[in-house]
């Protein structure tokens, strides 16, 4: 799995359900970060030249290479806007999230 995915978590009901000491599966994500976002990146695929600068610089690693196009994992994008700001072709626009 290239990216861990959001996974449901069953909270322990017995003491033995806890791991022995503070140790747990690497890359285990019971929560998403989508709720942090106030602006959402929207990609103009016609303008995008697939230079991958956004992929390289995303602090959260949410830009996905998808057969010649970029895709964004909206479960974990925090809407920081680095991708849009760094895009040499202005192919990403930050759009306000609607409730």
């Amino acid at each position: 799995m290239n990216r861990p995915k959001h996974t449901e978590f069953t909270f322990p009901t017995h003491i033995d359900d806890y791991p022995t000491g503070p140790q747990y599966k690497a890359g285990y994500l019971p929560e998403t970060n989508a709720g942090w976002r106030t602006f959402r990146p929207v990609v103009d695929h016609d303008a995008c030249v697939y230079c991958l600068r956004c992929y390289l610089l995303c602090p959260d690693g949410t830009i996905i290479k998808d057969s010649g196009q970029i895709k964004i994992d909206m479960d974990y994008c925090k809407g920081c806007g680095v991708c849009a700001h760094e895009c040499p072709k202005d192919a990403i626009e930050m759009v306000k999230e609607q409730l």
Binding site: N2, L29, E31, N33, L56, D60, Y76, C80, V82, E86
Partner: protein, 302 residues
């Protein structure tokens, strides 16, 4: 010594698709997380990651959310380097091959509280890559001054007022202090020059023994900068000469970037809330210190 020419270059096109630092709770636009994410993509799957108390550990492991998609451990605050040394020694004693141990520690965790252990790690030449992500203050605890906080910075423990203009000391010469150990490989980098950073991590990965990278990593929360400018501001810092890109290898210093002219220090400072209060006189002090340092580097390193 390692010849970079022999190492296949890692870049955005060919790097692994796998994300090793994902779903973390770092602030939006966090520069430290760019450094951690990119370094882990270069280092790959067979890596043990050790992080002392600090932003990257605080945002990465909050049970049951485990954001390191690889082996990782939080260490004591002063003991990141020594715990990493122990990991490397344990892995060696157990006969594990092709393993790298990496530390990601902040500026305070490196230059202040973790320094003794780091010095010991380099002295023993343990097989550990130590990466200091420098956001120039104790950010995790709420922006307090560290040994790498630059002159003039307003932090919560160096408030700028009528009597004291924020931080009154310059950054420690961390890179040179590390190099003075005669370490096999050390470098400075900035997330504003990501390919340079990738190359340096790759070089350290292929160097046996203790290695060190000091990477400049922006912090929108602590610096008072918009989240989207995190990469830009880290590039500006290099372009105005306050941060330099260099390597130390085979006992020799190398200045990777030696611009004829620097971009404006004032423009760089005035983009950030932490420097807003600085007077022209304060800025002049910063520039003079920069020029002294560059004169010395150019004289001795070129």
């Amino acid at each position: 010594m390692t010849n970079l020419v022999d190492i296949p270059k890692v870049n955005a096109k060919n790097m692994t698709e796998k994300e090793f630092f994902y779903g973390h709770k770092a602030c939006a636009g966090c520069g430290g997380s760019v450094a951690v994410r990119l370094a882990l993509k270069v280092l790959g799957e067979r890596t043990y990651t050790a992080l002392p108390a600090g932003c990257m550990s605080a945002v990465g492991f909050i049970y049951p959310q485990m954001a390191f998609n690889t082996n990782a451990i939080i260490t004591t605050f002063p003991g990141a380097a020594s715990m990493a040394s122990g990991i490397a020694a344990g892995a060696k004693a157990l006969g594990q091959k092709d393993v790298k141990t990496v530390v990601f520690a902040g500026d305070g965790g490196t230059a202040d509280i973790g320094f003794q252990a780091l010095s010991g790690m380099i002295d023993r030449n343990d097989d550990v890559l130590y990466i200091c992500y420098d956001n120039e203050a104790y950010m995790n605890t709420g922006i307090q001054k560290s040994g790498l906080t630059p002159y003039g910075t307003k932090t919560t423990t160096t408030p700028a007022g009528k009597n004291i203009p924020g931080t009154v000391t310059h950054k420690k010469n961390l890179f040179e202090i590390i190099a003075a150990h005669d370490i096999a490989y050390a470098a400075t980098a900035s997330i504003g020059y990501p390919q340079d950073f990738l190359n340096k991590v790759n070089k350290a990965k292929h160097t046996k023994g203790a290695t060190f990278i000091h990477v400049y990593a922006s912090c929108p929360t602590g610096w008072g900068t918009p989240t989207e400018t995190s990469i830009e501001i880290a590039k500006d810092a290099v372009d105005c000469g306050l941060i330099f890109l260099a390597e130390f290898e085979d006992g020799e210093y190398k200045l990777n970037r030696n611009p004829k002219e620097f971009a404006s220090v004032k423009d760089y400072l005035k983009k950030q809330g932490r420097f807003k209060h600085m007077t022209d006189e304060d800025i002049q002090c910063v520039i003079e210190n920069r020029d002294r340092k560059w004169a010395r580097m150019r004289k001795q390193w070129l």
